[in-house]
Symmetry: C2
Subunit: 202 residues, 2 copies
């Protein structure tokens, strides 16, 4: 039987927009979707299982994987590496499973560079950017310098929206998830993803 | 206020696939969608209203409109002209309404040529081509010659699927309509259709 290849979805958006919450909800409602497992060099926490929560790697091993171009994207946060091994994603896609990556915008840009139009990029937008700015400005505990820094980062991250295919406003969680579900349904109907099928029809 | 422009959907597919039935169901469930009104030179039937069922035109007027390039697509069936006036569609789109055209594949190809990527083209596929062949063959009134002709036409029409954006199998009516609804939702989330919005965010 000829199977359709899976589709890779990249869910991203500015820091603090609620990517994790949306992804957790999607896991509940879209059972056929596979979630990419990241690799990391940080130590496993209590209850974390290798291959489920993360692929735990030594620093040496991780750096070798970087050299071998084995990551779809990777980054170093406060001394630890985090990355998405391409092989796991490719296996899932070949088996016909749709895969979703929930990653930061910098990582998403690496993925876009690497796979181009082969991925479907969804940008999660805060309900109201002005409101988010106001909230950042209102935080009394922050120094002017750090507030300005955060605003600049947010603006820079928001501008990356132009490299995405879809944008979904994360105002109401269930509504946002409904829209993402509609995007996944629509993408499964794209003619170029059904070539095998319609060649059989003809 | 800056409004998003509407999106033009072209729903098409081989003769006999059930475009009309799908469109009637969509009218019930998608109340915000506008349905294009065709122009024709055939005489109004009892109960038909100008501007609702059709724009009724004289042959002279219709031919002048063809010369003036006022149709998105047009054709002549058994002595009568049928066509989609572009002005009506454009007005609706400018007002921010999504518009759906339900037309034959030949007409859809004219629209694709005229507006290119500005339209979203949905191809309705028979649940299986063998089934459609059976339906064509069942029409007892037809001679072998005319049946063969129709089968050839159907195959030719099916091949046009490659020019479409999406394909939806018309197996279960409600499921097909759900998929079209998902396509419309997804298209409304496309970044390039939300430029005005995200420029305001920034």
């Amino acid at each position: 039987m000829n199977k359709r290849e899976g589709v890779l979805y990249i869910l991203s958006g500015p820091s603090g927009v609620g990517k994790g919450t949306v992804c957790t909800q999607l896991r509940k409602q879209l059972l056929n979707l596979k979630y990419s497992v990241s690799a990391t060099t940080r130590a496993p926490r209590a209850g974390e299982t290798d291959g489920v929560n993360y692929f735990f790697k030594s620093k040496d091993k991780f750096e070798k994987m970087i050299q071998n171009n084995e990551f779809l994207e990777w980054a170093n946060y406060v001394g630890n590496y985090y990355g998405t091994p391409y092989s796991y994603v490719q296996e899932q896609l070949k088996e016909g499973h749709d895969v979703i990556l929930e990653i930061e915008v910098q990582g998403a840009m690496q993925v876009r560079e690497r796979i181009g139009k082969d991925g479907v990029f969804i940008f999660l937008v805060p309900p109201n950017v002005a409101e988010l700015k106001r909230r950042i400005l209102e935080r009394a505990s922050e120094t002017d310098e750090s507030m300005n820094q955060r605003l600049k980062v947010m603006e820079k991250e928001m501008k990356l929206i132009q490299h995405y295919d879809y944008c979904v406003v994360n105002d109401d969680l269930l509504y946002a998830c409904q829209q993402i579900e509609a995007i996944i349904t629509a993408e499964s109907c794209r003619v170029e993803r059904n070539k095998i099928k319609y060649e059989q029809w003809l």
